[in-house]
């Protein structure tokens, strides 16, 4: 994850339009064949997801007799049982808290540090930036065991705080690397004008920088949120009690607890991916733009 860099303005629309070049398109293969391949592709990508969702609408006997069939008749008991139980909602709550707190923490700490790194000229600035950038080279896998010991000695085992703090720390490098060029791109004239009007540097930060950097902030916020929502290894180490489980741990625990009740497991699994899918479809442009902007070669 080292070569992360950004273009300050994600996915410029004119460039997209420009791409619609007339010469190479519409010459060959633009006909039904292209659509057919695209259809196959989308089918292959979606089939497992659709299977999980539909499987939740079947009964176990249906699944046993015909594992690859469609619901016939449609059974809603699996979904109802999951939705009326408290486990699912508790885990959704935990995941929401962890992801929201992680996002807020990363965005506020990252924005402050990026502001200092981009618009103050202090000694050690380059070194500090390099330090954060070097963080990309330390994936959580390497640090997980001592991290677990550290969290344990801080008394944060089985609490969401023990997940949130390390997640903030590990999300900071990407955040800072995305935000620094963003903040540097804010024209100096704006700051001069603000200063002439009697605005302090911190006032400038609050009144001008935060609103102007919103697109970048949203991108890093979404990355942090989705990563936290899906994170598995850290909660696996830190959260050992059912009450503190986040959704990924919950899915796994549910799958082993109800291993004979495949239909219910499928219902639980498909319900647990709905929040991520909804979130993704709401912010799809931002996520794709953020990822491609963040890792563009």
């Amino acid at each position: 994850m080292s070569a992360i860099k950004t273009t300050p303005a994600p996915t410029p629309a004119p460039a997209v339009r420009q791409r619609r070049r007339r010469h190479t398109d519409n010459r060959r293969f633009s006909g039904p064949a292209v659509y057919f391949v695209a259809l196959l592709l989308v089918g292959a990508m979606l089939a497992p997801v659709v299977y999980i969702i539909l499987g939740g609408f079947r009964s176990n006997s249906q699944i046993t007799t015909d594992p690859a069939g469609l619901p016939n008749p449609w059974v809603t008991e699996g979904y109802v049982a999951v939705l009326t139980g408290s486990t699912f909602w508790r885990e959704v709550g935990n995941s929401v808290i962890a992801a929201t707190a992680t996002t807020l923490g990363v965005v506020s700490l990252g924005l402050m540090a990026s502001y200092a790194l981009s618009r103050y000229n202090f000694r050690g600035r380059g070194a500090m930036y390099s330090l954060f950038a070097a963080g990309l080279m330390f994936p959580m896998t390497v640090a997980i065991t001592p991290l677990y010991i550290l969290v344990r000695s801080l008394g944060l085992m089985n609490s969401l705080g023990g997940v949130i703090l390390p997640q903030i720390a590990f999300a900071l490098p990407v955040t800072i690397i995305i935000l620094v060029p963003f903040l540097r791109a804010i024209p100096a004239e704006i700051q001069e004008a603000a200063e002439i009007d009697g605005c302090s540097r911190l006032g400038f930060f609050r009144r001008m920088v935060i609103p102007l950097s919103m697109p970048g902030v949203i991108t890093v916020g979404i990355l942090a949120f989705v990563n936290s929502w899906n994170s598995y290894m850290l909660p696996l180490f830190i959260l050992n009690m059912d009450e503190s489980f986040t959704l990924p741990l919950g899915v796994q625990a549910f799958a082993s607890q109800w291993s004979v009740d495949t239909a219910r497991v499928l219902a639980f699994t498909s319900l647990s991916m709905i929040p991520a899918l909804v979130f993704f479809s709401l912010f799809e442009r931002r996520i794709v733009g953020g990822l491609t902007g963040a890792v563009k070669g």
Binding site: S2, A68, L131, P139, I168, E192
Partner: protein, 338 residues
């Protein structure tokens, strides 16, 4: 790794490099000019307030644990109380002579190679396809990205249910009359690694496609037009112009893919659990670390594995940077087609 960031391709901009002077508006704006180097105490305090929290959290939860991993690795330690049983390089000796670890390393490198070989061509093909003018283009782009957004746990749970011997995949094969293709997808050691590769490809190919699409958008359309006027066919244009110009994007993607493959943990641990991964031939260095470290309550040993894993990743990253990414620093986008 700041050295890579600095050497990153892209000639037209280098947003990650910190300009030595005049980068910040503060330094160049006349009202606040305070000389070349020093800044006032007030500004220094502001810097401290702004960077302090991030720095503390980062040092405490990223740098400190990584350093401690190296330290704990020299001890035989159950994880309680301070480590006192100093064993020197003993842990490393055990790791490097453990056949189970050798297997894990071999699996990791198999996954590295197969990921590149399988995802690369597929993703290039899909990106070229989706870069054409067509209806529902944005919808298709979104849909192929869905598996990447779903969590590893959901992917792992869903696929392991589908791939059971009496699961949906075998059921489907039976339905279409391909009974001979039915397999014990998850536990047959000959097949399991390919099953894993199938799942990895399914989950991560969307990411590669999105990256490549972004790279394709950076290629000036005039080049294609000029080649088309000169009589080049569609495939000639793709081979001679598009692919070489996509080079920097491809190399960055390959780097991310390699590092991801070396660190692979979630999917394997979820699907094959902590016990059967080794016998099914899908264990990775990370699952070995968790199984033999935390799960066995040998924290010193687990940390030593983490150090080995890190050193292997770092070596691969540096070698890759030295020999592959290096050329991107010389010519980037337009000069890269040598």
């Amino acid at each position: 790794m700041e050295s890579i960031s600095e050497n990153a391709p892209d000639a037209q901009s280098s947003p990650v490099d910190l300009p030595k002077d005049g980068g910040g508006a503060l330094a160049v704006s006349p009202p606040s000019r305070r000389g070349r180097r020093g800044i006032g105490w007030a500004a220094r305090a502001e810097v401290a307030v702004l960077t302090g929290p991030a720095l503390i959290v980062f040092l405490a939860f990223v740098i400190f644990p990584v350093v401690m991993a190296a330290y704990y690795g020299f001890f035989s330690w159950k994880g309680y109380g301070p480590p006192t049983d100093f064993v020197g390089l003993h842990n490393y000796k055990v790791i490097l002579t453990d056949p189970t670890f050798h297997d894990a390393v071999r699996h990791n490198f198999t996954i590295v190679v197969l990921s590149l070989v399988m995802q690369g061509p597929i993703a290039i093909g899909l990106a070229l396809l989706l870069n054409r003018k067509m209806r529902f283009q944005s919808a298709i782009r979104v849909l192929i990205f869905v598996p990447y957004v779903i969590s590893e746990v959901v992917v792992g749970t869903g696929w392991s249910l589908m791939l059971q011997t009496n699961g949906a995949v075998n059921g489907l094969l039976e339905k279409v009359g391909l009974v001979g293709l039915k397999q014990d997808w998850l536990s047959d050691p000959k097949i399991a690694i390919w099953t894993l590769m199938l799942i990895i490809t399914w989950k991560y190919v969307g990411f590669a496609v999105i990256l490549f699409l972004a790279g394709l958008q950076g290629i000036p359309p005039e080049l294609h037009e000029a080649a088309a006027i000169d009589g080049a066919s569609y495939w000639q244009i793709q081979r001679r112009i598009t692919l070489p110009l996509l080079g920097p994007t491809l190399r960055i993607w390959a780097f991310l893919s390699i590092i991801g493959s070396l660190q692979l943990f979630d999917l394997v641990y979820i699907i094959w659990g902590q016990y059967v991964a080794a016998t099914a031939g899908t264990s990775t260095m990370a699952t070995y670390m968790v199984v033999n470290g935390r799960n066995a309550a040998s924290y010193g040993y687990g940390n030593a594995v983490a150090v080995v894993l890190f050193l292997i990743s770092l070596t691969v990253a540096l070698v890759y940077q030295r020999f592959v990414l290096r050329r991107d620093t010389q010519g980037a986008i337009t000069g890269g087609g040598r």
